[in-house]
Amino acid sequence: MFEALGGRLEDALSKIRAKARLSEADVEVALREIRTALLEADVNLLVVRSIVDRIREAAVGAMASRSLTPGQQVVKAVNDELTKVLGGESFRLTYASRPPTIILMAGLQGSGKTTASAKLARYFKSQGRSPLLVGADLQRPAAVEQLRTLASQIQVPMFSEWTSPIEVAKGGVAEARRIGRDVVIVDTAGRLTIDADLMEEISATSKEISPNYTFLVIDAMMGQDSVTTAKAFNEALEVDAIILSKLDGDARGGAALSVKEVVGKPIAFASDGEKLDNFGPFYPDRMASRILGMGDVLTLIEQAERTMDEDVAERGAKKLMEGKFDLDDFLEQLRQVKKMGSLKGMLSMLPGVPKELRNVEIDEGELGKIEAMISSMTKKERSDPASIDSSRRARIARGSGTTPANVSALLKQFKEMQKMMRSMGIGPASATKRKAKARPQKKGRKNRR
């Protein structure tokens, strides 16, 4: 049911891939799939229309090009167009010549404003600034308390009082001047764009404190309504930039494209986790391939960097290359990879994974069983599975709550895996080529850390 978009697009493109030249009809076939892919990624229908039109022009123009295959032409046209929409002018924050630099946060309920406020404060602090967080959400239960807790986690002062949102915002700016803080971040209550009173309130707040920057926080899981929302906030407030939240999820994030197209302001930051350091710059090219579901290796790498131990991964890869990967190594790697998220999610991010594989239902519970079985083996058994006879098998099964048949299947499977890895070119047979490639990278990495 949740067929990867990439799969759909790949299908469409594979049909025209073999052709020497693209006819206009071919382009239309591909465009129809692209339209579907974008809609499934939650790009707003109206935005999809305009984007598809532009891609058509680009694709038709590129048909003359002889340097690319037809499939590549279309892929390139799509990717270029999306990257262009998502990217454009990048966001540059200039600090106010007369401090404090004032930042106003806005967005729907639960979009991630309070979290993003604290993340921004942390970011400014790391830039050598001295931020002040201002809690102007007096509406949601414990909103101020939430901001206070986050502020203390990053050791940033926080200001709020039980007056009114406008008074708090004003008071916050005054407080910053008084205690010498040079960036003020005003967190506000979530509001619906059709709530006239609350939209009026935030626009009055904005007039009162004249923020240097207004950030609109948008949830990456958002659907078609992103356009209505972004447009209304932009009209009430003149948004300067967008913060995209919850990018650590598996939503395609088409809302990013819609919002960017409608507001025309840069997406300044990406928030990809609940922890306050899960925050960073936004990469248009990565987002483009994510929306298209083309396999986002970069995201994968980022996730890996966050959760995996580099040395352990390195060791595993090396052993694989040398054909010395045993069950002990597998257990170690399994535990790491599990931390990264669901296997199915990861599978969808790997490049060039055949469709049959993408649609495989992975029983994650099976992994737990495997883990239990290997855990019940001795170190020696793990490095030399051949030594596992029937009595050992029975013991392992007992220890892991499985059956001896399960253990046999596991051992057989492990052998199969070794074969399979070899057939894929991972292993001693192709070690020379890969090693030669891997070495210079290794050096670079050492330098970086």
């Binding site: 949740f2 990439g6 239960p141 807790t149 078609q224 598996d250 399994l334 990879v337 029983d363």
Partner: protein
């Protein structure tokens, strides 16, 4: 970390641990080719995509002529406007199907379900020789309402007390707020309610629930920040049993369904709650109406981990229509039980299929 290291390690684990289980057995002879290059190298696969329906095919042709023109719908009833335009037309043309499909898509129903719905209406229209636009739209409505016709929308509280209702969902959707509202409703019905602050992770989550508990005048059981959420829920159920409460509404921290460890935590919460001296009668997935197609993945992910029994569709007071909930009910058969219609204590109502469908299809009489 280098790309090749990461990819190689993951591929190894995938093949052995997960995919291998599937692949190795049935496809012994077939040669597997898994690209491990660093570029998004598209692998050609055989096409399985079924032929597009006629409606879909003609859809694009018309669409391309229109363009974006910077004009965006601001009305809540997008379809209403489209329909008003159409009513002036005489015959049922291709344009009607396109407009209907677009309206559904704009409500986040999703392309597959939209195409399906319009396809079946179209077929009926031709079969029954219907010629008026109104009748066709009415058919669409009926089709949708029929799909939403099910008898299990009532909150299930018929079990040995204390009856436990677990609230689950991704971050910021409205779990805590919905608990506050439901607690008030249940206690106004004379039920004795205990709420469990099972979100021990997010800053001030327990305080937030505590404030809701005060508003709805129910008791709250909470742990210290960072405490094991399953134990907090267990303690709350035990406490509820001890004081003779009827219901326990258990909050959980927001979590994304692609985070395996957090979904495992949720599994554990449910498992432990089952062991306590009450009955877990409902696991409600809270879904934000602004959510797009990821809602399906949410329902599937949480369904797998916690056996979701119903949906609370929040924030329907906004401009979003929550159409993905329709797709979820249709495809995954999880009933929508409640809707959230605001931030106030009374803004929780039983789900009304007719009102929901009317919002999506506009208010044509």
């Amino acid at each position: 970390m280098s790309i090749s290291v990461v990819v190689v390690v993951i591929v190894a684990v995938l093949i052995f641990g997960g995919v291998g289980v599937f692949l190795v057995r049935p496809k012994r002879g077939s040669k597997l080719q898994l690209g491990v290059s660093s570029e998004a190298d598209v692998v050609t696969g055989s096409s399985e995509r079924v032929a597009t329906t006629e409606a879909e095919r003609s859809f694009d042709v018309v669409e391309h002529r229109r363009g974006f023109e910077g004009s965006l719908p601001k009305s809540r009833s997008l379809l209403g406007a489209a329909l008003a335009r159409m009513r002036s037309k005489r015959a049922l043309g291709e344009e009607l199907w396109i407009e209907l499909e677009e309206a559904l898509i704009l409500s986040d129903v999703g392309i597959d379900v939209s195409v399906e719905l319009v396809g079946s209406v179209k077929e009926k229209v031709f079969r029954e020789g219907i010629t008026s636009t109104e009748a066709a739209i009415q058919l669409l409505r009926e089709e949708m309402i029929t799909k939403l016709d099910r008898g299990d929308r009532e909150l299930n509280t018929d079990a040995t007390p204390p009856v436990v209702i677990l609230f689950v969902g991704v971050n910021g959707v409205g779990k805590t707020t919905s608990i506050g509202k439901l607690a008030a409703q249940l206690s106004s019905q004379g039920k004795k309610v205990v709420v469990a602050a099972g979100d021990t992770f997010r800053a001030a989550a327990a305080e937030q629930l505590e404030m809701w508990a005060q508003r709805s005048m129910v008791e709250v059981v909470k742990g210290s920040p960072g405490a094991d959420p399953a134990s907090v829920v267990f303690d709350a159920i035990s406490h509820a049993a001890a004081v003779g409460a009827d219901c326990v509404l258990a909050d959980t921290a927001g979590r994304l369904q692609n985070r395996q460890n957090l979904m495992d935590e949720l599994r554990k919460i449910r498992r432990v709650a089952e062991k306590a001296s009450g009955t877990v009668s409902e696991v409600l997935l809270v879904l934000d109406a602004t959510t797009g197609q990821n809602g399906l993945a949410q329902a599937q992910g949480f369904g797998d981990a916690a056996q979701v029994t119903g949906i609370v569709l929040t924030k329907l007071d906004g401009t979003a229509k929550g159409g993905v909930a329709f797709a979820i009910e249709d495809k995954l058969e999880i009933p929508i039980k409640f809707v959230g219609l605001g931030e106030g204590i009374e803004d929780l109502a039983p789900f009304d299929p007719v009102a929901f469908v009317n919002e999506i299809t506009g208010d044509v009489s």
